[in-house]
């Protein structure tokens, strides 16, 4: 349902607006030539009525055909297969890092409620939420790459290196599995800078939410009971408060992951990371309709998978859900 809905929204948004893909994709000279324009329109089915175009798209979709990109002149599916793993690698790195840091900081803030660690963490996390991600990417790029030279500034590998033997498309995983240590080191080093920037982008949200839901749970009677029976504070916090709090943290982590995908558009742009974000950007700017639809579908798919993962994690955390 969601998949079809998303294709419909993407289709309507991109097709009903005045932007003309012909002008965006054919050169100046060709636009003046009616025959070339008509050929282009015919090739991509743009000369047919919209509802028919949409039905045709759905029909092709059922056969796993996402259409041909008007820009790369390759099947959109092939384009996506190339770009998706890069973004997945980046987003996974960032979400894991921001979960570790965000939940950690949230625990500290909740444990020290209204004392100075809490105040500092709250202000810092608000700062993280308020930071324009494209700007922090630029600052990180300037400092860590250009000034200090600690980390490479763009791409997934050094220019001279060849991608590790293909398995998952995640360079770090592929290199690890195949024991290509030099490549692994390089892939990790390239991943760190854009990954860190994205982490800054989401960590504030997770910190704030962890703190809020822990504080809510700390008001429960069973927490007081745990304290009164003499459990050390860290046991109370980690075992009796954190676990139930994680349920709502995980819900937000799903949202944060979706947020990350937005962030990748801007971050990939700066770090020349060949992922879906850049692909989305270039197809949007060039009004490459099949590609935009493809990206939208990919995003819808991510949402569905994400919801599934979150539901499964609920069960892991809360045995009552597992039983029912």
């Amino acid at each position: 349902m969601l998949l079809i809905g998303i294709t419909l929204v993407a289709f309507v948004v991109t097709h009903l607006v005045p932007g003309d893909p012909v002008a965006a994709n054919l050169g100046q000279a060709a636009v003046g030539d009616p025959a070339a324009v008509a050929a282009f329109r015919h090739q991509y089915g743009l000369d047919q009525p919209l509802p028919l175009q949409y039905l045709r798209y759905l029909g092709d979709l059922l056969q796993g055909n996402l259409g041909i990109s008007e820009q790369s002149h390759r099947p959109v599916l092939a384009d996506l297969e190339e770009y998706v793993p890069a973004t997945v690698e980046l987003a996974l790195f960032a979400i894991v890092a921001s979960l570790v840091v965000g939940v950690g900081l949230g625990i500290v803030a909740a444990a020290f409620r209204d004392r100075w660690p809490d105040h500092i963490i709250r202000v810092v996390s608000l700062g993280g939420v308020s930071m324009p991600v494209f700007w922090i990417a630029l600052v990180a790029f300037y400092l860590l790459f250009f000034r200090l030279g600690w980390l490479p500034g763009g791409g997934r590998l050094d220019p001279a290196q060849v991608a590790p033997t293909h398995l998952t498309g995640l360079y770090t995983v592929d290199a690890l599995v195949h024991g290509q240590w030099a490549l692994l080191w390089s892939a990790v080093r390239h991943l760190v800078l854009p990954g860190l920037v994205l982490t800054i982008y989401t960590v504030g949200m997770l910190t704030r939410f962890t703190r809020a839901s822990m504080l809510e749970i700390m008001g429960n009677d069973y927490v007081r009971a745990a304290r009164l029976k003499g459990l050390p504070e860290h046991v109370v916090i980690l075992r009796h408060v954190l676990r139930p709090a994680l349920i709502s943290v995980i819900t937000v982590a799903g949202l944060a992951f979706a947020n990350l995908l937005s962030g990748t558009v801007l971050v990939e742009n700066i770090f020349a990371w060949p992922g879906v974000g850049q692909y989305a950007y270039h197809s949007a700017v060039n009004l490459d309709l099949p590609a935009i639809m493809g990206v939208s579908l990919f995003i819808a798919l991510v949402y569905i998978v994400l919801n599934l993962v979150v539901d499964l994690l609920y069960g892991v955390i809360d045995p009552r859900i597992r039983l029912s």
Binding site: I6, V13, F146
Partner: protein, 300 residues
């Protein structure tokens, strides 16, 4: 009795601070330090936006100076790739970002509120259709949808604003719908209906005043996001076009000339301070509300 060592009578003691407090009366939420900082910063930016041509040392569009000069006493923030004074451009950028972000939040709020109210009040298939549509828009990551809309309409500041509105309205629709749903069965609404008030009249005169608080909080929280999204679109070249002095576009210029750090650093700091200030205010407002509503706002 000569002079008494006693302190002055109690009423005098109490009257003095009372009178002073009345003069300095500031509503409780604004006395929190974060809110005070936020309000001060926003006020400062508003003043800058209004008086930018008078405060700024130079015309933000004039290409009068050596290109890419480092910050100096003549140009505190340096000059950019066309020899324009970065300080003047940052100051005048406030005239673009502040009014537009307020405008687009108001637009999103109105659109979202009308749709949400209709869905909540009429229920049935109206509710179903409207909310499914809202969900679909909600499911798209903000900037990707905004990017598609802005690109489709053509790269212009006006279209970027439209794009951000398209992205932002669903959260208002959801919130207003839930508020209307809970108000619909309240005794005062039922009483009003029994007196013969029409549906829209009940919505506007009875429910609206009761729902406006949480909606305004959401709007305050949303302002920062609006600034980020709008400047993000401009950064991608889908918003403000050159030579407009817009912060996101200026950071993009800085990315082109990244070894001249001042070109991109200062406009980014401007965005950061404005968004941070908006978030300080929004956060305090939310905390000031009852925790339950606060949670509903955060989740929506």
């Amino acid at each position: 009795m000569t002079e008494s060592p006693l302190p002055p009578p109690v009423p005098a003691l109490a009257a003095e601070p009372l009178r002073r407090r009345r003069w300095l009366r500031v509503p409780a939420p604004w006395r929190r330090p974060l809110a005070a900082v936020g309000v001060t910063v926003v006020a400062a930016w508003v003043v800058i936006a209004v008086f930018a041509p008078l405060i700024g040392p130079d015309n933000p569009l004039a290409q009068n100076y050596a290109i890419l000069a480092a910050p100096s006493s003549a140009h505190w923030f340096g000059t950019d790739e066309l020899g324009r004074d970065v300080l003047s451009r940052v100051l005048s950028g406030a005239r673009v970002t502040l009014p537009l972000s307020v405008l687009l939040v108001i637009l999103a709020m109105i659109i979202g509120a009308v749709i949400g109210a209709a869905a909540g009040f009429f229920g049935g298939w109206v509710d179903n259709v409207l909310m499914r549509v809202a969900d679909l828009f909600f499911a798209f990551p903000g900037i990707i949808l905004a990017m598609a809309v802005a690109a489709a309409l053509g790269p212009q500041l006006r279209n970027a604003v439209i794009a951000v509105v398209v992205v932002s309205w669903p959260s208002y629709a959801r919130l207003v719908r839930s508020l209307v749903l809970s108000a619909r069965s309240a005794p005062y609404v039922i009483a009003s209906r029994m007196l013969g008030a029409s549906g829209w009249r009940v919505l506007l005169t009875d429910i609206r005043p009761n729902a406006s608080g949480p909606v305004l909080v959401l709007a305050a929280l949303d302002l920062g996001n609006a600034v980020l999204l709008l400047s993000g679109l401009s950064f991608l070249g889908l918003g403000a076009q050159p030579p407009t002095a817009e912060w996101g576009a200026m950071v993009a210029e800085g990315a082109q000339n990244f070894n001249d750090w001042w070109v991109g650093l200062f406009p980014g700091l401007a965005i950061l301070t404005v968004v941070l200030a908006f978030n300080f205010i929004g956060d305090t407002l939310r905390d000031a509300l009852d925790p339950r509503t606060a949670r509903a706002v955060r989740l929506s």
